[in-house]
């Protein structure tokens, strides 16, 4: 079906409109990011540039800016918060890649494989601290509270994942708690902090928090599904990474339940005892597709996507940023294409 024949309620999936609206603000954020990743210690900007420069989507700072502007914010305090959000995100990526021994990130060799795990840990700490320096400059204690809390919840989610993610009996609720903390919390806090910086009402701050939270859940569910169906150029990382790390995400949880006793030995060997060959990933991938578990994961992602759009009802009369933020939701769940 070509674009001309698409049903009228299905706009083409693109965030070009949002990116055009946010371009001047994002240029400011980019300037702040480049300025504040500098240090007299040369390894720091080199490592940060590797991860931050170029191909990063910068979805999270975009959320902060869009939320601030949608809520009527005219000031530039949101730029510093947006840069802080990107620094928090980058710091967690650096630490995650060390924790997971990942090989690829944003389509490049992971930083710890070039500069070593110690430098990745410490430059992550540097970026995290820089984030708080930027938040202090932005001057809102309420935004600081939101993002400090988010940083703590992210760490809790990562530890929960580390200690529970190899458990074949992981409850779906625990999986949702993990992705709620490690991914959706920063989306929620990024949007809420933007609204707060604009002086929005409590109801509107909560609406944008809810938007971010639902968008984040949808985004992570799609990510987890793509790990069984994507290509490395869409993902910016290797498909199968979750399986190879023995990380039990929703597509796998559903597949394990649906394949029952017949495959129990296969899952125990590959995920619990971590005894795998490359052919095992192909078999797991086939089972995820055959049992409809990938499709079910994407269906749940679409439910959260609808929740994100509903939250924007608080801004029903707005015709510029609200439709652009709806596009972002469609874009997040259409990434499998």
């Amino acid at each position: 079906m070509d674009a001309a024949h698409a049903p009228v309620d299905q706009r083409p999936v693109s965030i070009d409109g949002l990116l055009a609206l946010a371009r001047p603000d994002m240029a400011g954020v980019d300037g702040l990011i480049r300025d504040r990743m500098q240090s007299s210690v040369p390894v720091i900007p080199a490592l940060a540039e590797h991860l931050i420069g170029g191909s990063a989507k910068r979805l999270r700072p975009l959320l902060t800016l869009a939320a601030a502007r949608l809520a009527g914010g005219q000031e530039d305090g949101c730029l510093k918060l947006a840069a802080a959000v990107e620094f928090i995100h980058t710091a967690t990526l650096l630490h995650d890649d060390v924790v997971d021994s990942s090989e690829l990130r944003r389509g490049k060799v992971a930083a710890h494989l070039i500069w070593g795990a110690p430098a990745s840990v410490l430059v992550g700490d540097f970026l995290f601290a820089r984030a708080f320096e930027l938040m202090v400059e932005a001057g809102s204690l309420q935004a600081l509270e939101i993002l400090a809390r988010a940083s703590r919840v992210i760490a809790e989610g990562e530890v929960l994942q580390l200690t529970r993610a190899h458990d074949l009996d992981l409850a779906q609720e625990t999986y949702l708690e993990i992705i709620g903390a490690k991914t959706a919390e920063l989306f929620a806090a990024a949007a809420e902090a933007g609204a707060v910086s604009a002086g929005a009402s409590a109801a509107r701050c909560l609406a944008l928090r809810t938007y971010g939270q639902n968008l984040g859940l949808a985004f992570q569910l799609v990510d987890d599904a793509l790990d069984y169906s994507g290509a490395s150029d869409t993902l910016g990382k290797n498909p199968g990474d979750d399986f190879r790390e023995g990380k039990v995400t929703l597509p796998l949880l559903l597949t394990i339940a649906r394949t029952g006793p017949a495959e129990k030995a296969f899952w125990e060997r590959t995920l619990e005892r971590h005894d795998q060959t490359e052919a095992d990933f192909e078999r797991a991938r086939a089972l995820v597709v055959e049992t409809g578990s990938g499709a079910a994961t994407l269906a749940l992602a679409r439910d959260y996507a609808e929740g994100a759009k509903r939250a924007l009802g608080e801004f029903a009369g707005e015709r510029v940023w609200r439709p652009a933020l709806e596009d972002l939701v469609d874009f997040a769940v259409a990434r499998q294409a």
Copy 2:
């Protein structure tokens, strides 16, 4: 010489007076620390308790409290800042032990050897975020700025040490820059933040910052000297750790310069090529003593200690906390005993 015959200007080296003065405040800080290290994710309080419970000296939060009280602060906002300072310190210890692959910390097996390096990295992130949540509660943007900046400077110092510390030609200035950033900055910020929370004048905030900075430099110099002369029960870590990691600290820098070409091959093998036996440490230790390099390091520590005491001149009329903070300086440089 017994205490009765000590010269009048040499009080016995003890911080019992300071600890007694600070006891009610420190009990409050301890309560905050135990409360805020809790999490619904069980590994987090278990790992934090291992490091925080029991034998920690808690010098840094003590500095925050003493600075606040010396500067006339009556409020309890400084308790939250003090707990935040201890969380920042604990987070950096967790990350440092991963970076250095240390085996002992505070007289116990290092956390990463029990729970793994990934858990240590992530619990460090949790504690760092908790520190900022506590600072937000304390409500002073100025204190937040001081401690966010300190967190960033510490990370820069750690990276500088990581990339330069195996360099036999390390300049003494670079060594002082490293310990100024990785150790003295938090002492300085802890004291300054306490003064700020008390609403002290700019001159008094600066005086307490200067006190903390000089105390921190003295403290680290003594630590580096003790690595060639201490016993593991005084240190809470193994003597010789710096040498075994190939970390070139001041006692070694001076020894390398003083032994000249005669020992060049020995230093290159043991420190640059990292080809060592246990007997090599004993030889290095003997050279540090014979060349007077250990004594010279301690002499420099005493210079900074005097600087710390001079900074307290700003509070010349105060007869309770100022003498107690002078005792702390003497205690820091007398640890070799």
